[in-house]
């Protein structure tokens, strides 16, 4: 019986043998259920663990590094910031609204588990082409789900990314990041505490939600069986989560908890074993005390349930009454479900019987570690050589094509569905570069940018990953913030393919090198494998979430008006279109080798951007990324409602996306100040034009003239026209 059960639960025969070895007997069903979810790829990182060790995770300001529910950094004056990123790719493909919604719910719990109040959310979402109605359905549902949950739970969504590429059609990516803020003494860890400590389960009732989600959904590939996996859909309840946030923060304020662990993937199995393992203790868990939504659940079902909006608090015995009273005050349910025990055994009781007796730490620490084969794909060289350039179109046609692209045009269709103003701290919300929020009670601002680029990473995973870190850093620099910490979300294909593992290790090497060079520690991350459908892997798509701090918050940029000099900052060499939006939209085929990060130039550019925002009051800065310098310029012109006369030497200079470049607009008479500063920092500046009039005139190899109105219209409709009338559910 058990023999077939372990396979049904997604365990290999080797893993089953390992469990037998640990227990020195065959496992009972509830025990097997626990091992299957805890040892799943999603929870155990079995394919990635050996490779994650080399990342730079240390800095004097790191308070909590990888391993806890979220990373925590010291931002000075007694304040800390907690950050974390997670993927919800497969659940969102199965049910876009609920998949995305529960992704938001999950990342929030990771943050308030640490004692922090969540202050901002970011999402990074990727779909197939919007010409396909199913992709529109997925996109619409995911955006509505993020909005539905994030808005109602009362945490502003401050930015993110949207991308469209056929490679994500069978496997959309939905990543979410959350930032929280807390005072030093509020920090809570996921520890069970000493023997005698009582485990109190808070929040939603336990039902048969997402049973096997971690093992089945997040750790396996998609194929025609997607339909059969559907019963594990989880429904998010932002109302319950809102109450849970307030209740938990109240408990922390009253110093009523020893430790806290959220219930996410692997549910109770994880919430009982991880804190016990961290504290080096055992635990007695009584399933009969768990408040249930469905009365007739079995022990394995309760142990594997991924019902949302639940937290486990570890409480000193004499404070249990008070904890229950706080829960009642916030109108949430609470059950006393366990006690920390001496020794190292996790024992679970159901219907008065002991049904599990295993070493607690074996669920977390003895998970298998795989050293999967790694091989550089034989098609890499081919791809690098492919620079075939079809006849390029005129620059205005290219520009209009880029503006009409949903990944580049106006994304307000997305972010205007998100409350991005709650808490009255949003200095820079979604719409341009990094977001910046003020931290009330201090003179500090926290900036976040999240960046991914699957195409560049497909062409060169190592260089691509390096570039993402620098891009994110520059995005926070242009709002005046200095990089502080990184979280990363690694979305990859099937790790059983040596080529995918090669991409993975290359990306890690790139991330590590870039963070090392910038002196920014990686304080947390997430790995999502098996993003493939019918054998087709997604591009390697790491997403970097970078936190920066501005102190003080620089004065706001002036509106873009006529008479401003348009200054292009960055290295002269900009001749590479590999992986660019121009290559995708205008030329079609992906190919070439993307330009490498230059650590010296990159560092200077970031430094220069930060100095500019603080020294040249009112300067308008904008990072150059997808669509290149021309696209960045047009975005600023559209925002200001003013035309310009600009000059570009080449298509590459206009549309190239080489790293370390940004635009700065200042009134013409202040240009010398910018030049002086550039000289001090050692950055190159090129004056590419002047704002004014109501047309954009581009002088270059060819001179073109387009009314700004026309550019604006095309840009404004890029998503909204395609999504007109889409419905979810």
């Amino acid at each position: 019986m058990a023999e077939t059960l372990h396979r049904q639960l997604g365990m290999t025969d080797d893993e089953f043998t390992a469990v037998n070895g640990i227990l020195e007997r065959p496992p009972a069903d509830p025990e097997l259920a626990m091992y299957s979810v805890m040892w799943s790829e999603h929870c155990s990182y079995k394919s990635s663990r050996v490779h994650l060790g080399g990342l730079p995770t240390d800095a004097p300001w790191v308070v909590v590094g990888p391993g806890e529910n979220a990373g925590v950094v010291d931002i000075g004056d007694g304040w800390l910031a907690a950050l974390r990123i997670e993927s919800h790719n497969h659940p969102s493909f199965v049910e876009p609204y609920q998949g995305a919604a529960t992704g938001v719910g999950g990342i929030l719990r990771d943050i308030f588990t640490m004692g922090a109040r969540p202050v901002g959310l970011w999402n990074q979402i990727r779909f197939g082409d919007l010409s396909d109605p199913h992709n529109r359905y997925l996109f619409n549902g995911v955006v509505a789900g993020i909005a539905g949950y994030g808005n109602a739970v009362g945490v502003p969504t401050l930015g993110g990314e949207v991308e469209f590429d056929p490679v994500y059609a069978g496997n959309p990516l939905v990543n979410v990041m959350c930032l929280g803020v807390l005072q030093e003494e509020q920090l809570v860890l996921g520890t069970a505490g000493p023997p005698g400590t009582v485990a109190v389960l808070l929040g939603a009732a336990t039902g048969r939600d997402g049973i096997g989600g971690a093992s089945v959904l997040a750790s396996a590939s998609f194929d025609e069986a997607a339909g059969a996996k559907r019963p594990s859909v989880q429904v998010g309840d932002p109302f319950e989560e809102k109450k849970l946030i307030e209740a938990c923060l109240d408990l922390y304020d009253r110093r009523l908890v020893v430790g806290v662990q959220d219930l996410g993937a692997a549910g109770l199995s994880c919430a009982a074993s991880e804190p016990a393992a961290r504290a080096g203790v055992g635990m007695d868990l009584n399933l009969d005390a768990v408040h249930l939504r469905e009365p007739d659940m079995t022990a394995p079902e309760m142990l594997m349930s991924e019902s949302q909006e639940r937290m486990m608090a570890f409480v000193a015995p004499d404070q249990v009454e008070e904890v229950l009273a706080v829960a009642a005050r916030w109108e949430i349910e609470a059950s006393v479900v366990g006690t920390v025990a001496g020794g190292d055994r996790l024992r679970v009781y159901h219907n008065g019987q002991q049904v599990v007796d295993v070493p607690a730490a074996s669920l977390t620490d003895e998970a298998p570690i795989l050293r999967r084969p790694i091989a550089r794909p034989d098609w890499m060289d081919e791809l690098w050589k492919r620079t075939d350039r079809q006849a390029d179109v005129p620059i205005d046609v290219a520009l209009l094509g880029l503006l009409d692209d949903p990944a580049l045009g106006d994304r307000s269709w997305v972010y205007e569905q998100f409350d991005h103003m709650l808490f009255l701290n949003t200095v820079h919300g979604p719409g341009r570069d990094g977001s910046l929020i003020r931290v009330r009670g201090t003179s500090k601002g926290l900036a976040v940018s999240t960046d991914g680029n699957g195409r560049v990473c497909q062409l060169d995973p190592r260089r691509g990953a390096e570039r993402l870190v620098y891009e994110a850093a520059l995005n926070v620099a242009v709002v005046g913030a200095r990089p502080l910490a990184v979280v990363d979300n690694l979305n990859f294909g099937n790790p059983e393919k040596p080529e995918v593992m090669w991409q993975f290790t290359e990306v890690l090497a790139g991330l590590g090198a870039a963070c090392e060079a910038l002196g920014v520690p990686i304080v947390g991350g997430n790995v999502s494998f098996y993003n493939e459908t019918d054998g087709q892997d997604i591009y390697p798509t790491p997403v970097v979430g970078l936190l920066g701090m501005a102190e003080p918050i620089p004065s706001l940029p002036e509106p873009v008006t006529g008479g401003m000099s348009m200054l292009l900052i960055g290295p002269e060499q900009t001749d590479n279109l590999a992986g660019s939006a121009y290559q995708r939209v205008v030329r079609g085929a992906l190919g070439g080798r993307p330009t490498r990060v230059d650590a010296d130039q990159g560092g200077r550019t970031i430094e220069f951007a930060i100095r500019l925002t603080h020294v040249i009051h009112g300067a308008v800065l904008h990072d150059i990324s997808q669509g290149g310098a021309l696209m960045a310029a047009v975005e600023l012109l559209i925002a200001g409602g003013v035309g310009a006369h600009a000059e570009f030497r080449s298509v590459e200079q206009a549309f190239g996306e080489d790293p370390h470049r940004f635009l700065c607009l200042v009134p013409a008479n202040r240009k010398p100040e910018v030049e002086q500063l550039a000289l001090e920092v050692g950055c190159r500046i090129e004056d590419i034009g002047m704002t004014g009039g109501s047309d954009l005139t581009i002088a270059g190899p060819e001179t073109i003239n387009i009314p700004l109105e026309r550019l604006r219209d095309v840009w404004a409709n890029a998503i909204s026209a395609r999504m007109h009338g889409a419905v979810h559910e």
């Binding site: 199965v94 989880q234 429904v235």
Partner: protein
């Protein structure tokens, strides 16, 4: 012809809205209310078509759009 589609969320799928209404009704004094589920009905009007046609068209709409096969069942009733 008109069709009324009743879309119900499957029993094992959580219904936070129903649960919240249940608690609110208890608060309001209806202590005996032990469960509430919320569902939707969609009334589709397709004039000038016969029963057979409407039934098969509406079934198609349910499968493609109106119902969410991942968590809902549907039932179609033809009126008139």
């Amino acid at each position: 012809m008109k069709a009324v589609v009743t879309i119900t969320r499957r029993q094992e799928i959580a219904d936070p809205e129903g649960a919240t209404i249940q608690r609110a009704l208890v608060d309001l004094g209806y202590a005996e209310v032990d469960a509430v589920r919320v569902n939707r009905t969609v009334e589709v009007s397709m004039p000038g078509r016969d029963r057979e046609y409407v039934l098969s068209a509406v079934r198609g709409m349910c499968e493609k759009m109106l119902a969410n096969p991942v968590m809902e069942d549907f039932e179609i009733e033809i009126l008139d």
